[in-house]
Amino acid sequence: MFSINNLLETENRTDYPDFHPGDHVKVYVKIIEGDKEREQPYEGDVISIRGSKENKTFIVRKISNGVGVERIFPFNSPKITKIELLKRGDVRRAKLFYLRKLSGKAARIKTKKS
């Protein structure tokens, strides 16, 4: 398949911790307000990692004021300054879209015992 990464011999970002679906992460996103730039953390569970090469994205889901919020991040986005891995999740699926139908205690993800 066609890929700019193959063409220009570039790689995806490697400065992230090794995170997987089910993990609880904190993504630091650069935000431009007027002419000022600041970092905003976005904390939630990774529910999907899809694509490869420069098309790779991941979805982080969190519950904000009782409303489910999902954010799709392009893996190589220059807006992401840093990702912190807070908890490893113990899940059996690669895509955790079933969480959308659950709420409260049922929507928790088990922490992986290491």
């Binding site: 420069e54 220059p78 807006k79």
Partner: protein, 208 residues
């Protein structure tokens, strides 16, 4: 020199300076070689003929083969003429590369669209189809409807849009922005889609 020949490689996306994703088409633009100079003295207008790609020499017409041999040129897949204000600045056999373009240039891209085969009027001309399926109507959902009046004029007007072969025609997309140029690999990144299938030959013409 206002244009280049290239090959469509495919689509993907890159980030702009604000970190926003933009869709791009990557074109292998060149390296092209100058095949012929058209000057005001000899031809009455000024242009450069350039060649791109390669094909087997045995498939060239004989006069072309002789001309190429005389000028030490390889067998090109395509040869096209482009306007040039100053054709004498280059010689026959000179390379024309993607460095012709730079970031922020506006270009138009000419290509041959993908062939769609025999298509109905809805896909080919954007007709709406014939209404609903009630009142005993069936099999008419994608039909063209009436194609003209009755006893006068007793014929169908020329140019009536009907079903038929669609695609595989010359298409120009204007006002495309060059977002990136990789000179050493002769690659041009153009924002948006361009006509044709992957690996098809396109003309890229600078408009700004």
């Amino acid at each position: 020199m206002n244009g280049l020949l290239g090959k469509k490689l495919g689509m993907s996306s890159i980030f702009d300076s604000n970190g926003i994703i933009i869709p791009v088409t990557v074109i292998q633009a060149g390296p092209c070689k100058v095949v012929r100079l058209r000057t005001a003295e000899t031809d009455g207008y000024e242009a450069l003929t350039i060649g791109f790609g390669e094909r087997k020499e045995k498939n060239l017409p004989n006069p072309t083969k002789v001309y190429y041999k005389k000028n030490g040129l390889p067998a090109f897949q395509v040869v096209k003429e482009f306007k040039s204000g100053n054709p004498n600045s280059l010689k026959i056999g000179d390379d024309v590369t993607a460095e012709l373009f730079k970031e922020g240039d506006k270009v138009k891209v000419k290509g041959k669209s993908k062939g769609k085969g025999f298509q109905g009027v809805m896909k080919r001309h954007g007709f709406g189809g014939v209404g609903g399926t009630t009142h005993g109507q069936s099999d008419r959902l994608r039909a063209p409807g009436s194609i003209g009046s009755s006893s006068y004029p007793s014929r169908v007007f020329k140019g009536q849009r009907m079903a038929g072969r669609m695609g595989h025609e010359n298409v120009t997309v204007r006002n495309l922005k060059v977002v990136k140029v990789v000179a050493e690999k002769n690659l041009i990144f153009v924002k948006g889609a361009i006509p044709g299938a992957v690996n098809s030959i396109v003309e890229i013409i600078k408009t700004s």
